[in-house]
């Protein structure tokens, strides 16, 4: 495994590093396990990517990550993020390098997977409030002829605005929805973990200065 595995290891390490932060955000409006669950899943992902065989094919790596998250995370995040990675494996099957066009298709497939599985849409105080604006920004930047790292920067900025937006809305999906108006003012943990993953990917690309 090459750059993609290294990038995903960086993503995993960012989640593990933010375990307590995500858990604290979740304690305020959910049941306080988002960071614990995500870290447990990505610890397993990092081990598999570091010790795995030399898989080069992007689709196979995405599938490996998706299956690992599904079988280790639990909660709502496991099926949602796991489905996202599995769906992203479809447009990247057979490829060894991710170009801008493939990245966009993977991003779109992943988000569609989350929406299908979670039956959620934007504006319900979930990870989609970070991911959908990020996808839009990515697509716009890509269509303007920019490079993959530039697209990622735009996506990352949009995701950050997205998590700020989640403070202003009432949760209607997931455990935070049981709180109703008490969820106002709190930042959504799922949107935050999505942002952390995008940010780690963007920083990795800045460091490597190459396509993933």
């Amino acid at each position: 495994m090459g750059d993609l595995a290294a990038a995903l290891i960086a993503v995993g390490e960012a989640i593990i590093k933010n375990k307590q932060y995500l858990t604290d955000l979740d304690s305020a409006i959910g049941d306080g396990d988002h960071g614990l669950n995500m870290a447990r899943g990505f610890e397993a992902v990092v081990v598999k990517l570091k010790t795995g065989t030399m898989i080069q094919e992007v689709g196979a790596i995405m599938k490996l990550v998706g299956m690992t998250l599904i079988s280790t995370v639990g909660g709502a995040s496991g099926p949602l993020y796991g489905t996202a990675f599995l769906r992203a494996a479809v447009p990247s099957a057979g490829k060894e390098v991710i170009d801008g066009q493939t990245a966009l298709l993977m991003f779109q497939a992943a988000i569609k997977g989350i929406k299908d599985r979670g039956k959620a849409s934007r504006g319900e105080k979930t990870m989609l409030d970070a991911l959908e604006p990020a996808q839009d920004a990515f697509q716009k930047t890509f269509e303007a002829g920019k490079s993959l790292p530039e697209c990622l920067h735009a996506a990352c900025d949009a995701a950050q605005q997205g998590i700020e937006f989640t403070k202003t809305i009432i949760a209607t999906k997931g455990r935070a929805s049981y709180l109703g108006e008490r969820s106002l003012g709190h930042q959504d943990p799922g949107a935050t973990s999505s942002f952390i993953m995008l940010q780690a990917l963007t920083q990795f690309c800045d460091g490597s200065k190459e396509a993933v």
Partner: protein
């Protein structure tokens, strides 16, 4: 955090080993999975599988046995089990007459059980599911994911399990489960939070004179907080909410579950039940059977929930049917 454990990562594993060691006549573990199934193996009847996060003991493994569940899947503490674990449970208990999944309405549980159901259906296993949503604390508005499933789930296990034991087919067993869900309401309150072992600190903080009303079974915050009141006032409030949602008329018959959340002495649960019985008697409601104890706990959380199940003849006979499991024995 002060807990009797070795390392936080091992609590679920070691708890399951301890349960099997304590109840070998009832349960065995599926090797390599966090799943308890009946010690005698799959039988030729509709099988019931439930489960959820750990930390709710004796739910769910404590209710595996004759007249109740066939398999219980244990997730990480307060985290729904993953689809591969649920899938293994389904395969292990399937005796050829179909499997009913009893799921509590929590987003994570629903998603993971649905994924497991897709895997099992692809294998050709006859399968159906019910989603329990007995908690009236949550606003019944059109924009929520609906009400949570809490301790009333025990009645679904008990009555649908009894129906399966009498040889009912999958549609009939599901029918009983659905009827129980339509007729059971619960609501809880907490005096003190609990600490998830891997988190190491309480999931919320209550002042000495505060209580949390309507919180879920994972320590997630409730609908509101207020100054602590007397046992009678607490019970009146919980029953008011329950009856506002599901009116019960004089002359009708119910079953009652006063469920401890893990950190409340039986003395206090019985004090609460005294008021439950008094209120029901004043309304002219008959009580077919009352259960008081720790059935679906939240680690060491102090507090309780009250569940009321409205009965008809069928539900009453299934309620009174025998059960023989580690945590529910009835002749």
């Amino acid at each position: 955090m002060k807990k009797i454990m070795n390392v936080p990562e091992q609590v679920v594993e070691e708890m399951l080993e301890g349960m099997v060691a304590a109840h070998p006549q009832y349960v065995k573990r599926l090797p390599g999975f966090d799943v308890l199934v009946r010690a005698g193996g799959a039988t030729e009847k509709v099988a019931l599988v439930s489960g959820g996060g750990s930390g709710h003991e004796p739910a769910h493994g404590g209710f595996v046995g004759k007249g109740m569940l066939d398999g219980a899947v244990a997730g990480a503490v307060f985290t729904s089990p993953t689809p591969d674990q649920i899938y293994e449970a389904i395969k292990a208990v399937n005796g050829g007459k179909g499997v009913l999944l009893v799921i509590k309405n929590y987003t994570g549980d629903v998603l993971n059980f649905e994924m497991a159901a897709e895997l099992a259906e692809a294998d050709g296993i006859q399968l159906d599911k019910v989603i329990v949503d007995d908690d009236v604390a949550v606003e019944n508005s059109t924009w929520t994911t609906g009400r949570r499933g809490i301790a009333g789930t025990l009645f679904v296990h008990k009555l649908a399990g009894a129906k399966a034991e009498t040889g009912g087919n999958l549609a009939e067993v599901k029918g009983v489960a659905a009827k129980v869900i339509a007729n059971v309401r619960s609501m809880g309150m907490a005096l003190a939070p609990c600490t998830v072992p891997a988190a190491g600190k309480p999931s919320f903080v209550l002042d000495e004179n505060e209580m949390e009303i309507g919180m879920g079974i994972h320590g997630e915050p409730g609908t509101h907080r207020e100054a602590i009141r007397s046992a009678d006032e607490i019970v009146m409030h919980l029953l008011d909410k329950i009856f506002a949602d599901m009116p019960v008329q004089s002359g009708e018959e119910v079953a009652v579950l006063v469920n401890g959340l893990g950190g409340t002495p039986l003395m206090e649960l019985y004090v609460a039940n005294r008021k439950v019985a008094e209120i029901l008697a004043a309304k002219g409601i008959q009580v077919a059977k009352t259960f008081v104890g720790n059935y679906m706990t939240s680690l060491e959380m102090a507090g309780l929930s009250v569940s009321v199940l409205k009965l008809d003849e069928e539900l009453k006979s299934l309620l009174l049917a025998p059960a023989d499991t580690p945590a529910w024995v009835q002749f």
